[in-house]
Amino acid sequence: MSSNSGSDSEPLLRVDDLDVHFGGNSGLLDRLFGEEQGTVRAVDGVSLDIGENDVVALVGESGCGKTTLGKAMIGLERPTGGTVRFRGQDIWKTELEEGDIPYKRIRKSLQMVHQDAGNSLDPNRTIFDNLNPALKKWRPELNLVERRELVHRMLETVGLTPSDDYASRYPHQLSGGEAQRTVIVRSMLLEPDLILADEAVSALDVSLRVNLMDQLLELQEMFATSFVFISHNMSNARYLAGKADGRIAVMYLGRIVEIGPVEEIIHNPQHPYTKSLLWATSGLSRINDPIEDPPVRSIDVPDPENPPSGCRFHTRCPEAREFCTEHDPELETAPEWLERHETACYYAHDREEYWNTQPLPDESDVGEDADATRGAAD
């Protein structure tokens, strides 16, 4: 593979046909006999480009693989297939000392902010002492005074003022929102190129969320950092990615089923699964409308160990026809949609072969999804 780092043709991060499969019988005998059971295909053939200064919200239900995809993208989860390239360089090959960009540099460039961030702060150290070590390691050119100055400036940017006070506090003296901001500051101090924020706002009280999202966006703009937000909440995803003029990617059972510019996904969704997520997102303006029936044939997610054949959504999809049970749709765009809007659905693309088969029976038979198990790969 050519190491064309820094080339203009390569985006910041390119995910190509990525697989992350967990478990399964990978012993010698199983391999000899070709048995593969109990494998969870948490991420299964996902391709996605993240540009410079790009914001993408990954949305989906638990177990859809959004966190696993995010972690694989930033080098925290080893893919079982496909590649993740950082400025053209395969990050997993780089780990083995190949390529122009040192592995250390890539690790610094790709950062993560966890849900429930407070737990990732050392309770026995002050906020400054929590932030200082990483800065010392990754920014050795700065002396203590400069590091202190930088920390204070960043705390002030996220509203933790007076910063003198906050820098000398211990984590238990912070509210949940303040701890979340501190962790965000910690990740930003390294001046990464991409931050993965996993449900970074959903643990906060509703009345504080917009404020935190605004501060995230302010930092994003200030540092021209790319962001991947993982969320199960369409309203939060829309706010974060929408304000940054970014995209929403909708995941279902290890696949991206629809991706596109934010308002296009919200107001012109094409995939029936995206439509069902939007159904589930009550806008306040609709409170006087009665809740309609869920626009799915089954409310339970199938067993990720044993995903449905063909289009994985066909067991729940209200539009599914027999064609969908055998054929696996790919992400495609259509001329009448906005640029960069793609979906993987035969119905949305009005495919003739799809219309030539029978619709699946509209059964309320619940046995079909009875294998749904708990605690999937998300």
């Binding site: 638990s62 409170i287 869920p294 089954s298 339970d300 619940v366």
Partner: protein, 354 residues
């Protein structure tokens, strides 16, 4: 510490058939740092057959209000005030917090049952779901075969395969399935009231909304009164008849859902509505409320919202407002001295379509 002024008018009266009446309910906890008042003099009537949504952020006292309805405050917390239950068949009202231990054991499940967040923890992992139904029936001396028939109906009502679920252990079911099985279990003794504390918080949106839809159906089918406690106003608004807004362990506003969402009277409710990331609203019109909710040991004097309130005046710092009647629909009350000013000066950013 907010003054617990018993003279303060804290209830909104409307002529109604009440299944539950909560009068001056307060809950105190002795903590290392001092005494914490985690429910402060709340009075509220629950109307028979309604869905009452109790909305509040973390540390608002909303779960304490729910627990008070079944007198199930954890030790060392103590409930004062009075909770009265009126049986649908008539007869003597039951003062819930005067019941002895055995009476209370029977009262729960048979009269009022409760579903909490995280169904997985409510099930014993060593018993099948079916065992839980049988055990509950036996503990209350109900006919088991007959009860199990009802169990099957209830499980089908919540879109579960009854045979399979009854034979399953809790860990064999997904989170959404367990939560629905718990809802079915809570209805096995045909209670009059179902109290749900964040019943869907740990679940995905599609499942949350589906469960709310199922609840609306169950309520109609089984003549239930439902109380749903949640941090997410937009989520329960669509199935609620009335909303109660809690803040700093007090009831700040109460009213019919349509008016409470279309034109709330309390500054907190107005700002809360404006702060909810809303799928239909203009992106530039959402904002947050400055500051944070108070600590239970350090609730501000006067109106507990005054440090965050944009229209707070000296009176708000010194006096805790009554729950005043709000002009408009009957039964709408707000604990604010300046209702008119709040409605005029804090514009709502989202319009509710009528």
């Amino acid at each position: 510490m907010a003054t617990q002024n018993t003279e303060r008018r804290n209830r909104i009266d409307v002529a109604s058939d009440n299944v539950l009446e909560i009068e001056n309910a307060s809950v105190g906890f002795a903590m290392d740092r001092g005494d914490a008042q985690v429910l402060n003099n709340v009075s509220i009537d629950v109307h028979r057959g309604e869905v009452l949504g109790v909305v509040g952020e973390s540390g608002s006292g909303k779960s304490m209000l729910a627990d008070s309805m079944l007198d199930s405050i954890d030790d060392p917390g103590t409930l004062t005030g009075r909770v009265t239950f009126h049986p649908p068949e008539g007869g003597d009202p039951v003062v819930v917090n005067d019941l002895n231990k055995e009476e209370l054991r029977r009262f729960r499940w048979e009269r009022i049952s409760m579903v909490v967040q995280g169904a997985m923890d409510s099930f014993n992992p060593t018993l099948t779901v079916g065992d839980h139904f049988e055990e509950t029936l036996r503990a209350h001396d109900y006919d088991v075969p007959e009860g199990m028939e009802r169990a099957r109906d209830l499980l089908e009502d919540v879109h579960l395969d009854a045979d399979r679920v009854l034979d399953s252990y809790p860990h064999q079911l997904s989170g959404g399935m367990t939560q629905r099985a718990l809802i079915a279990l809570s209805l096995i003794l045909d209670p009059d009231v179902l109290v749900m504390d964040e019943p869907t918080a740990a679940l995905d949106l599609l499942m949350q909304q589906s469960i709310l839809k199922l609840l609306a159906e169950l309520k109609a089918e089984y003549d239930l009164t439902v109380v749903i406690v949640t941090h997410d106003l937009s989520h329960v608004a669509r199935i609620s008849d009335r909303l109660a807004v809690m803040y700093a362990f007090e009831l700040l506003e109460l009213g019919p859902v349509s008016e409470l969402v279309a034109d709330p009277a309390h500054p907190y409710t107005r700002e809360l509505l404006n702060s909810i990331p809303d799928i239909d609203a203009d992106l530039d019109e959402m904002g947050s409320i400055e500051g944070t909710s108070p600590d239970p040991l350090n609730v501000p004097e006067g109106c507990s919202y005054h440090p965050r309130c944009p229209i707070a005046k000296e009176k708000c710092v010194n006096e805790n407002p009554d729950l005043f009647d709000v002009p408009g629909e009957e039964g709408h009350g707000a604990a604010c001295f300046y209702i008119d000013e709040a409605r005029e000066t804090i514009p709502l950013k989202k319009e509710v379509t009528e």
